[in-house]
Symmetry: C2
DNA sequence: AAGTTTGTACAGAACAAACTGTATGAACAA
DNA sequence: TTGTTCATACAGTTTGTTCTGTACAAACTT
């Protein structure tokens, strides 16, 4: 078992690092794929990743597609190489955090907006007397939900520019 | 379809609010359960929730169990009522955020720690000459991963006390 | 005590997500 | 042009989650 200690270490690193990556709403598969790409600093082909992860090329292909969508991976061209090459983005913190925060802010805004629409529709119904029961509770709850959304949005907005983000520790 | 406009509004609110709740790593079912409990400010029984969500009592039971584990819901006793009563916690923002942040900080710390262990094991192997290839790249990557974890932990720690958290807007 | 009512454990069904192999299309070589 | 290599679309399979119904245990009533 100590025949290939480096490969072993590789696997441990990837497994553990993937756990952190997963927390940014990547599936286990995507997280693992990104991790292997990141640990291997140099660009890799689909076949190499397929080999390294023991998964089908199709699977890798769709996985890479997702990572590209998330802007966590770039295509790289190398003279004389026909296969596509992919590389993990540097600047992990910035990439992950900004995407993450943006997702929160956007979604929160969206949901809050929808709730506001529902609220005004409710007011309409009340005006027209189309509603019977005790509405006050619902109205209060709605207000609280809106406040909740505002607080979330604010928190994540404030997170956007931690002091370390403007400090490029680029390799 | 405008026969029961209030019920309709209820459903819309719950559906939309659940989307936000889901972002805090609750399953769609759990999120919906919490939402209905929150909108209905007063305590509810398993049967009432079952009825309201159109799901089996068993399902509600396990769902409530999860929400209790997350400290998002409390059991409530009411004189003369045999059934268990459950109620959503007030102070949404504090409850959700503190749990959320704590989860990030804890997990990040844990994963970082494991990576450090791997790192020292790697150093050992190098000392003993049990490793052949180019190790430097791996060591650099490991360091970068550790920095990454430190930045994440720091960001979420700073999030912990936004100004609004010490401002109890309790009903 | 026996009989009810309420909550949960468990096993299987229904559903959804991830993966694979085949087949198709695009880029290149000769 | 034909032949080859690569990436992806698609359908089918496997794997994992979520829900349901049954069965049991605990709490209560009389």
């Amino acid at each position: 078992m100590s025949e290939k200690p480096l490969e072993n270490i590789h696997n441990q690193i990837i497994t553990e690092f993937a756990k952190t990556v997963e927390m940014f709403d990547l599936s286990p598969g995507e997280a693992r794929l990104f991790s292997i790409l990141y640990l291997e600093g140099s660009p890799m082909t689909l076949d190499e990743m397929s080999e390294a992860l023991g998964k089908s090329k199709t699977s890798i292909s769709t996985g890479i597609r997702s990572l590209l969508d998330f802007n966590l991976v770039t295509r790289v061209w190398r003279k004389g190489v026909r296969k596509d090459l992919y590389m993990a983005e540097e600047n992990l913190y910035k990439k992950f955090m900004s995407t993450f925060i943006q997702k929160w802010v956007e979604s929160t805004k969206q949901h809050k907006h929808t709730l506001e629409e529902i609220e005004s529709r409710l007011e309409e119904n009340i005006k027209n007397g189309q509603v019977e029961g005790s509405i006050e509770e619902v109205k209060v709850r709605l207000k609280e939900m809106l406040v909740f959304h505002e607080l979330i949005e604010e928190s994540f907005r404030e997170m956007k520019c931690p002091k370390t983000l403007s400090n490029p520790t680029k390799t």
